[in-house]
Structures are given as structure tokens and as C-alpha cells.
Symmetry: C2
Subunit: 136 residues, 2 copies
């Protein structure tokens, strides 16, 4: 049989396609970024580290999110080079909506597994991810 990595790639492509911007209300990466802001604002410079994005990409993603009104960038008064990035109320709502969409996509993608199997899968997956260096 084909190896796990190929299977992983296949399943992920499928999942990724389902999570289109139309259905999710934002790009998957934007969703990932917003998750980092859920607990509170953070300096823009820290976002790339969380997500394994480069600084450039972060700027482009933030431009997109800001144009939708989902985040705000504010100058840090203590160091005027820095931006503090915060999620807005609209962003919080969009994030909650995207959470629900992602949960239903998850149910679809893993429909062929029993709830116990899904839990097992998720647990093993989480452990494999935790052992890896961060990536988007």
C-alpha cells in the first residue's frame, strides 16, 4: 500500500479544497492567523514565528484581513517601528463562524470513521504535529 505521507497529502488536498474562501469566509491561512489573536493582541513581528510564515507573507495576509475589517494594526507607542495586531469584533464573529464551518468540514472528511476512531486519529495527529517544528 502507499505510504502515510502520500495518504496525508491526498486527504489534506481534499480538505483544503473544501475549505474554500467562499465557504469559510476567509482564507485558510487567515483563519490560522486569527486563531493566534483569539486570546489577545500581539506584535506583528511575533506572528511569523507562530505560523512559519515569512514577514512578507504576514504583511500580505494582514492587508487582506484588515481590508475586511477583521484585524487592526496599531503602532506601538513604546517603539514606533512596531505594530500591535488585534482582532476586531467583526473578526471575532467571522472567526466563530469559520470555527463552525471547519467543524462541519471535519465531520465530512472523517465521516467514514466512528467517533472513537476520529478521537484516536486526532490524538495521534496532534502528537505528530506537536513533535514537529511549527509550520503554517
Amino acid at each position: 500500500m502507499t505510504n502515510s505521507i502520500l495518504l496525508l497529502i491526498q486527504l489534506t488536498r481534499n480538505a483544503y479544497r473544501r475549505a474554500s474562501e467562499d465557504v469559510l469566509g476567509m482564507k485558510v491561512k487567515a483563519y490560522m492567523l486569527l486563531q493566534n489573536l483569539r486570546e489577545g493582541a500581539m506584535p506583528q513581528a511575533e506572528l511569523p514565528g507562530c505560523m512559519h510564515l515569512d514577514a512578507n507573507n504576514t504583511v500580505l495576509l494582514l492587508n487582506d484581513l484588515e481590508s475586511k475589517g477583521f484585524v487592526e494594526r496599531r503602532r506601538d507607542p513604546a517603539d514606533r517601528r512596531r505594530h500591535i495586531v488585534a482582532i476586531t469584533e467583526a473578526g471575532t464573529k467571522a472567526l466563530a463562524r469559520a470555527d463552525r464551518v471547519m467543524a462541519s468540514l471535519e465531520a465530512e472528511v472523517f465521516a467514514s470513521l466512528s467517533p472513537e476512531e476520529q478521537a484516536t486519529f486526532r490524538d495521534l495527529l496532534a502528537r505528530a504535529v506537536a513533535a514537529e517544528p511549527a509550520a503554517v
Copy 2:
């Protein structure tokens, strides 16, 4: 905790990065395509269906593989519009080498799981993939 799809995306990105053209000897997609030819030649027109590629992309991939001498395209004498695509001896060798590389990447990516857990994970993953429509 974050949902399974996000975890899936993270792990896959990581795995995908490791499987660079340098280390694998070919692109991941080329590897997937060659796997379809392992058992024997097939008409070019059937490859997109196997891999969820469009016809255009298939041509580009085959150009790449042919320039490396890994596949051959032969006109079908019965219908001169058609190409029969076959793996060459060099392609078979490159495929075997890539198989070994993929196996070792798999071991790395899932190093934090026990062999039994890896087997469980692969089994669940294979079932989730099998239930989905085909994708590259």
C-alpha cells in the same frame, strides 16, 4: 484544541517540505504519477482520472518526467491521437529510490508515535482517504 483539519494541514506542509525535489529525486506529484505506472503502461488520458489532475497539468508533469528519461510516451497505433505512457527502466529505479526516501521521511514525521500507533494512524488515514473522491 484546534480541529483535525488544521492539524492535518500543518503536518502535511511539514512532510511536503521534507519531500523536496532534491531529496526525493523528483517532484512529489511526479512520484505519485509514477506509482500509477508501476503495474504497467496506461493511456495518458487515464492518468488525470487517477490523480485528479487536469489534462494540461498531466502534460507538464509528463514533459518533466520524460526529459529525465523516467517515462516514455508512445503513440497508440490503434488510435494515433492517443499516447500510451510507460515507465522506463531509469524511471523504475528512480521510483524505487524515491520509495525508500518516502519511507524514511514517514519514519521521521511519525517518530513520536509507537509502531502500533503508526499502524493505527495509517489505517484510519487510509480509510478516510478511500471514502473521499480522488485527489492528487
